[in-house]
């Protein structure tokens, strides 16, 4: 009962947050003082061009009417038409989202290995040289801007030791081997970026769990150290890392934009940049709304998983 109620209130709050996000985006892009058309096209634009853009964006109607029209269409699944290409936004978005999803899945698989292995090594050898060295490396990687990390990996594995393609331009005609090879560098970059945040948290929570009474008990029962680690300690230590990963999704979506840009990967992030460069307001609104929805949904899932994995949180409510 209490879990169902908690779940319901979280979903309600997420929906409310997204509604506010839509108002914010609309306010920033269309309701700031000054003429929207002039801001998009610049001061040198001809009167005719401005008039065409105004009618495309329905700028002759009051802002409130435009907002409700947009959000109503959006909720019914009609994302509108892109100004730059004249195509329906849903058609433009679908393949890009699929590509980014593919990239994220590969990145996530690599991330699991990159986050778990160093954290386990650190926790088991806490205080020893290995622990300190890995801590130092994560701190250094944490300090590397994502665009620099991507450029460095590109230089190392596509220029200095040319084993992978520098550009991840894929199309419908590329075979799955080509696609996979093209995705390796961007996926590894994303995975490293995600992992450096998780390793520190995972290490600390693992050490804490390894000190707890039930792990002591499991050891005293005579379980093998490996069984204690993987069956008893790890599942309990993962919850804080899960939360950090969800919270850092905001960083990650930004990271996707940059990584896709560096490797020219035709995904959601490059679409956002293109839309911004072309001042394609309907497309910008749709992409930003979707990225916010992904963030909110991921945090919702992390919250729910945390409750389900940790009975303590269930009863405290």
């Amino acid at each position: 009962m209490s879990v169902a109620r908690l779940l319901f209130s979280r979903i309600l709050f997420s929906a409310l947050t997204l509604l506010l996000v839509s108002i914010l985006i609309f306010l920033i892009l269309e309701a700031l003082p000054g003429d929207v058309a002039t801001r998009i096209l610049g001061r040198d634009a001809t009167a005719k061009a401005l008039e065409v853009l105004r009618s495309q964006l329905h700028l002759n109607q009051p802002a409130l009417v435009r907002y409700f029209q947009w959000i109503g269409d959006f909720l019914r699944g009609d994302l509108g038409v892109s100004i730059a290409t004249g195509r329906p936004i849903a058609d433009v978005l679908a393949p890009r989202i699929l590509n980014t999803l593919l990239l994220s899945l590969l990145a996530f698989a690599i991330y699991l290995v990159l986050a778990l292995v160093p954290a386990i090594i650190q926790a088991v050898n806490r205080g020893k040289a290995v622990d300190n060295v890995i801590s130092m490396i994560t701190l250094l990687l944490l300090s590397l801007p994502d665009f620099l990390l991507a450029t460095m990996l590109l230089f190392l594995f596509a220029v200095a030791v040319p084993i992978l393609p520098a550009l991840a331009t894929i199309s419908e005609t590329s075979t799955w081997q080509e696609t996979l090879r093209a995705m390796v560098l961007p996926a590894v970059t994303l995975a490293i970026m995600m992992a450096v945040y998780a390793i520190r948290v995972l290490r600390d929570s693992l050490i804490e769990v390894l000190r707890s009474d039930y792990v002591r008990l499991a050891e005293l029962k005579g379980l093998r150290p490996r069984a204690v680690l993987f069956r008893h300690a790890l599942p309990n230590a993962i919850v804080p890392a899960l939360n950090v990963t969800a919270l850092n999704l905001g960083f990650l979506i930004g990271g996707v934009v940059i990584v896709e840009r560096v490797f020219s990967y035709p995904g959601f992030g490059t679409l956002l940049i293109d839309a911004l460069q072309l001042r394609d307001i309907p497309l910008i609104k749709a992409t930003v709304m979707i990225s916010a929805a992904v963030y909110v949904a991921a945090n919702l899932v992390a919250d729910v998983l945390a409750v389900l994995l940790q009975p303590r949180l269930r009863t405290s409510r």
Partner: protein
């Protein structure tokens, strides 16, 4: 009042002479890196080997040499001079943006946490919504919304950094304020009849100083990356001003011919952030706070 004043000396005890010896190692290394960066930036603001926008300082694309430690870019500008001149721009933009975000976020967060009720509820929903928009998307959208007249102006970058940071800082400040609001000295101040602003800025702000200082340091660490990313994507400071992220993106074509031209400014940016991160790490340990990197 006695409680606040009596807790002051212990809180700032580490400012005493000789505290340098007692500071954690990371703090010291970080502080040294940051001091080096500041000195380099001050020097670069007044003197560079060549002009930062001077074309034909040498043969374009001729690679690194003693006269040009970071080589030359495609139109023959000395990259080291540009790097040196850009140092103070990166530092000033990061600092100004973070300070502005700190002032706005702290004010909002402390008031929200102390006043509570409907004000808190509404503020929190807006803060939550702003955090839900991935920060790079929010920054880019605001730059587009500002229009062509403001695009590429330093003042816009400062505002964008502040607006991205303010809701995140507000969330931390609110949590601190809610905790401090339950303490006795706040109740005493209320009984004395002090006003809301007085309590928030004299009692709560002072006692939240440690949390906020670590938060400030943490945000400052990330500001050069954010500004660099905006420059890298072509939405930052207007060329020819040599912001480091912009330089890395400008010279990316030279990756094969002259890697140092790309990675020189890159190393500068990375070392600055490493300095900030080590400093923050040490600071949070000294102040008994836990710094958590997060959105």
């Amino acid at each position: 009042m006695t409680m606040t004043t009596s807790s002051l000396p212990s809180r700032f005890a580490w400012l005493d002479k000789g505290f340098w010896q007692t500071t954690p190692g990371p703090f010291r290394v970080g502080a040294i890196i940051l001091i080096a960066h500041v000195l380099f930036a001050i020097a670069g603001a007044f003197w560079t080997p060549y002009g930062f926008a001077e074309m034909g300082a040498g043969l374009p694309l001729s690679g690194a040499s003693l006269q040009h430690p970071m080589g030359l870019d495609q139109i023959g500008r000395d990259v080291f001079s540009r790097f040196m001149y850009g140092a103070h721009i990166v530092l000033l933009l990061s600092f100004a943006g973070t300070v502005l975000g700190m002032v706005a976020g702290t004010t909002l967060g402390l008031l929200s946490g102390y006043i509570g009720g409907w004000f808190d509820e509404i503020t929190q929903r807006i803060v939550e919504a702003m955090i839900s928009i991935p920060f790079l998307a929010l920054a880019l959208v605001m730059i587009i919304a500002a229009g062509p007249a403001l695009a590429g102006e330093p003042v816009l970058i400062v505002f964008v950094v502040a607006l991205v940071y303010a809701p995140r800082i507000a969330r931390i400040a609110r949590a601190a304020a809610m905790e401090i609001a339950t303490r006795e000295y706040v109740a005493v101040a209320e009984l004395r009849g002090e006003g809301t602003w007085s309590i928030v800025f004299r009692e709560i702000l002072l006692n939240a100083a440690n949390v906020l200082l670590v938060e400030f340091s943490l945000r400052l660490s990330y500001a050069p990356i954010l500004i660099g990313a905006l420059g890298f994507l072509g939405f930052g400071i207007r060329p020819p001003t040599p912001e480091w992220g912009l330089m890395i993106s400008e010279n990316r074509n030279l990756l094969i011919a002259s890697p140092v031209t790309v990675f020189g400014p890159g190393l500068g940016l990375a070392s600055l952030v490493i300095g900030f991160n080590l400093f923050t790490d040490g600071l949070s340990r000294m102040l008994g706070q836990r710094s958590v990197a997060g959105a």
